[in-house]
Symmetry: C2
Amino acid sequence: MIRPDINQLGAMPPFCRLDLRQLREILALSDSRHLTGGATVFDEGQPVRRFHLLMSGNIRLVRVTAEGDQIILLHIQAGQVFGIGAALGQETYHASAIAAGDCRVLSWPNALWPGFSSAYDGFAVETFRAFGARADEMSNRIVELSTQLVEQRIACALLRMIGQSGRKVAGGIEIGFPITRQNIADMTGTTLHTVSRVLSLWERDGVVKSTRCLVIVTDPHRLVVMSGAGLGTDADDPIIQAKAQALYATAAASAARKASSSSAYSAQASITV
Amino acid sequence: MIRPDINQLGAMPPFCRLDLRQLREILALSDSRHLTGGATVFDEGQPVRRFHLLMSGNIRLVRVTAEGDQIILLHIQAGQVFGIGAALGQETYHASAIAAGDCRVLSWPNALWPGFSSAYDGFAVETFRAFGARADEMSNRIVELSTQLVEQRIACALLRMIGQSGRKVAGGIEIGFPITRQNIADMTGTTLHTVSRVLSLWERDGVVKSTRCLVIVTDPHRLVVMSGAGLGTDADDPIIQAKAQALYATAAASAARKASSSSAYSAQASITV
DNA sequence: CAGCGTCGTTGTGCTGGCTCAACCTCTGGA
DNA sequence: TCCAGAGGTTGAGCCAGCACAACGACGCTG
């Protein structure tokens, strides 16, 4: 069980420049946990004692308001570090981390953070970059929430998710983790009812296909148009990139994907292959 | 002109652990600019060539949609590093930086970033922390936009601003930089009309007092109640902290503030004193 | 001091999407 | 085989806040 772990760990962005000895060292210091869907890695408000790396699966970072509204801030993909209050100077977690489907998570005590940053080449830089990407995603969310209609925001959320962990399946691109209507509502600041209505409409129009806890985008292009992103937003927007990848994947690439059917679509995730 | 600069630079969080020789070194490599209100430091989409430090004044990070809507993502205070695509692995700026009032900005070429991070004690750590605080602020914004009514969001925005750069004045706390109704609308995802109505109402009720481009909060406590934050949100929320500071500042502290009447309210800003 | 541009106020009508409500359809457990 | 509970669909009514509109006030420039 150790051998595959080492290989997997060495493929993760923060650790990809390390040698076998270092990886073994890191793994020996880590604590490993399996989680099933809905389980929490940590809760908002808890003291920050460890930092975490997602080995497989998907994690939602969630906040809950006093009124009980749940908001999904971000999705974490395999290979990403999360819960790093250690680096951010935060005493308590500012969001909860909840497994979306089955996950495997490694974690280390806070005290190791400075050592990791200084001793392991590329760790600090990669973490900073990942963080930049998250800040970007959040700023996109703010822009969407401030200016777009519900329908557009839902389109953006779907595009973002297929960009981050979409899987090619017969007839479209499937979101790579279980997701309910309520979840989509929690991402877009709307209600489960409205999401349901919109998805029903889109299904009628052949843009998506969805069953319980599963969404398949059958016409990503139309979704991009509806998202309002096609009208001049910066072209290096992750959403647009996702779209480009989804639409214009070469035959070779899609063949390769058939070979390992669970491989993810996005550039980040494909590093984990 | 160099001497005060060195002292000022040495008081900024990212550089506060450095000695005189290092500060001189850093200053010699820097480019300095004065900006008047409305001037831009950099524009969204431009290639990232330099990173920046705000010496005095306030900067808005702004994004503009294809439809022409402006969204204010964040306010940068004196002592903060910004425009750090160098660290985040971004080729172009993902937002524009616009001066809110008069500003002084130092900047350095990207190529110096790795050297700063490794050579200057505390620089990387402080930058990471500042970034964590910004991520936090953005996540708060997302929660607000997703769940709160316009009136509550405006209250939150005002509280955030007095927390970050409020100044004690006769009869209340004044926001430390010029701000229009339209600006507040750009922060809260609403329209100038709605902001105007809400502020008029609050002025009638004695919660705020405002003139052209200036807002004074006369009853922060009532504003906190209206913001909806008092109902159980995490107590270490920056908004609540700001409120606590604003409301329960000791007589000693407020005396000290009278002495240097332009000193800012927040913990971060007060480091710059 | 006239003219103009920026900023602010206030009134009116309309609508996107939320709330409330009822019902359907899976899935897993006993 | 039946039941409970989670997830999903759809209808009806209502209202917060947006769009449109018109006007007032301040401050700069020539």
